[in-house]
């Protein structure tokens, strides 16, 4: 079967000449359709860079990326909300761009916002929201894009454990319902194991897929379950090894 995303020998460098910094080196990766892949890696290892490339925001320095015509939605590491729009308008915007009828998009924005626990904050502007609330609006906005491929860059980083738990369930539900292909960056190994079909361990500068873990635990999984903890321990150890041996 054709994969949903094919990343083929991608390298990416920033800057020019002597100042050049190689952020990604020869990354190859395929995501199956409807796969939930999690990406863990040290800070600065190039995870965000990879997501940006897949979303076609920059062209890779070398290599190829294909998404086979599927649209991608990117949830940035920062919330990147539009400060001139209310929370609801921010969520509606991608639907406006798809020319969804006004009624329908208002209704859907409302549903998405209440799904992320912000039903009472539809009319708030980004600067009136807390860090975690902004991140949740951004999540709702990404879901409103109705893309087949969802690229998520630490979407739950600023959320408390309880909200995070609830959103894990919600995300899993939507993923199954919509048959999404998800590439999910996180620093939390447990979260990766809780959510992913596969956990990719990224090595540092230049970023490369150092290892991958297939997670065959049955769903629904629980973050606190011992199996998740055990696998997360393995992932964490592998990452530690990767980070510590590659430094010096």
């Amino acid at each position: 079967m054709r994969p949903a995303v094919r990343i083929d020998g991608v390298s990416h460098a920033f800057g020019q000449g002597g100042e050049r910094l190689l952020a990604l080196h020869d990354v190859s990766l395929e995501l199956r359709k409807a796969e939930f892949a999690c990406l863990v890696g040290a800070s600065g290892s190039g995870k965000s860079t990879l997501l940006n490339l897949v979303a076609r925001l920059d062209p890779p320095t070398t290599g190829e990326i294909e998404t086979f015509g599927s649209r991608t939605a990117l949830l940035f590491q920062e919330a990147a909300l539009f400060p001139w729009l209310t929370a609801a308008d921010n969520v509606e915007l991608p639907m406006r761009m798809r020319h969804v009828a006004a009624d329908k998009r208002r209704e859907e924005a409302r549903q998405l916002l209440s799904a992320v626990g912000l039903a009472d904050f539809e009319a708030s502007r980004p600067h009136e929201l807390s860090g975690g609330m902004k991140q949740r609006v951004a999540l709702a906005r990404a879901l409103a894009q109705d893309a087949a491929i969802l690229l998520m860059d630490e979407p739950f980083g600023a959320l408390d454990a309880i909200t995070r738990d609830l959103l894990h369930d919600e995300l899993e539900r939507i993923w199954l319902e919509r048959n999404l292909t998800i590439l999910f960056v996180t620093h939390n190994a447990r979260e990766a194991v809780r959510l992913g079909d596969r956990v990719l361990v990224f090595s540092s500068r230049p970023g490369r897929v150092a290892d991958e873990f297939r997670i065959d635990l049955p769903r629904p999984r629980r973050l606190e379950s011992p199996e998740v903890a055990r696998l997360a321990g393995l992932v964490g150890d592998r990452l530690r090894e990767e980070v510590l041996t590659r430094g010096h």
Partner: protein
């Protein structure tokens, strides 16, 4: 996308009883006249101080009063002007031209600015031309204006347009330049088309800077108009530009100062208008 809402703690907008308690703390809801007063008193104070200084200079006898008349005769002259219907006719003509010309300049300036800002080649090609045009004095355009439009209102509009449009285009360009790239990327990641990116991201993001550009554009438009009005003199309704010029040409110090007061007042009124729009825009996005 039939996302059924999840049962999740819906964080309420705060407990009303507590809010009520807070309302009794010393932060009274401002009443409207008070608010107006808070906005107005510094302006009034500034005007009062300016008048006082002016009067003091005149009283000091630094220059004879036919060269530097005091505020009293100037304001008396202004009051006299204000009783004449011809004055209002003149004002109406001038303001109409200003609005017309400025409106056109906004349209042209925005389009040019928008097209130029986002296109690398065009920008390199005509970016500097815009500033070049902006620094061209109005009188240089007179012959061309007459060639193109004859002795019509169109000629005046042309001069105003060429005066203001470059400033507005430049304002928009520099507004676009200052948009945080993350917002643009965010728009692109949403799959926005070129036009959608423009309409939904670039324009609103650059709005505060654009308003600043409009303010500068207005000043250019107005100054160009004061010059351009000398192109076509309408009998019976000497426009403000003509009044200013006539007062100057006849060395009528009082008349000149009276006209200057009018120009200043209009300029300030326009600024207050822009400021209030600007304030609203900035408050909405948490910039103020």
């Amino acid at each position: 996308m039939a996302t059924e809402p999840l049962r999740m703690p819906a964080y309420g907008a705060g407990e009303l009883s507590v809010l009520d308690k807070l309302e009794t703390t010393p932060r009274p809801a401002r009443r409207f006249p008070l608010q107006v007063w808070r906005g107005a008193w510094p302006r009034l104070a500034a005007v009062a101080i300016a008048l006082a200084v002016w009067q003091a200079v005149v009283l000091s006898g630094w220059r004879p009063d036919y060269l530097l008349p005091g505020p009293v005769p100037v304001l008396r002259r202004l009051a006299a002007d204000l009783t004449q219907p011809v004055f209002y006719g003149a004002m109406a003509i001038t303001l109409e031209r200003a609005l017309w010309g400025f409106g056109l300049a906004i349209a042209l300036g925005s389009v040019v600015g928008a097209v130029v800002a986002r296109n690398r080649v065009l920008r390199a090609a005509v970016g500097s031309l815009i500033t070049g045009l902006q620094s061209m004095p109005s009188i240089a355009w007179f012959p061309l204006a007459i060639l193109l439009f004859g002795l019509t209102e169109g000629a005046i509009g042309f001069v105003v347009l060429l005066g203001a449009a470059p400033a507005i285009a430049n304002g928009l360009i520099s507004g676009f330049d200052q948009i945080p790239p993350l917002l643009i990327r965010s728009g692109r990641a949403m799959g926005a088309s070129r036009f959608q990116l423009f309409r939904h991201v670039l324009l609103p993001a650059s709005l505060p800077a654009f308003i600043g550009g409009l303010k500068q554009g207005w000043a250019f438009a107005w100054r160009s108009l004061m010059a351009g009005e000398l192109l076509v003199i309408i009998s019976n309704h000497p426009s403000l530009g003509v009044r200013l010029q006539l007062a100057r040409e006849t060395a009528d110090a009082e008349g000149l100062l009276a006209a200057m007061v009018v120009v200043l007042a209009i300029g300030m009124a326009v600024e207050i208008l822009f400021s209030s729009v600007d304030g609203t825009v900035r408050r909405r996005r948490g910039l103020a």
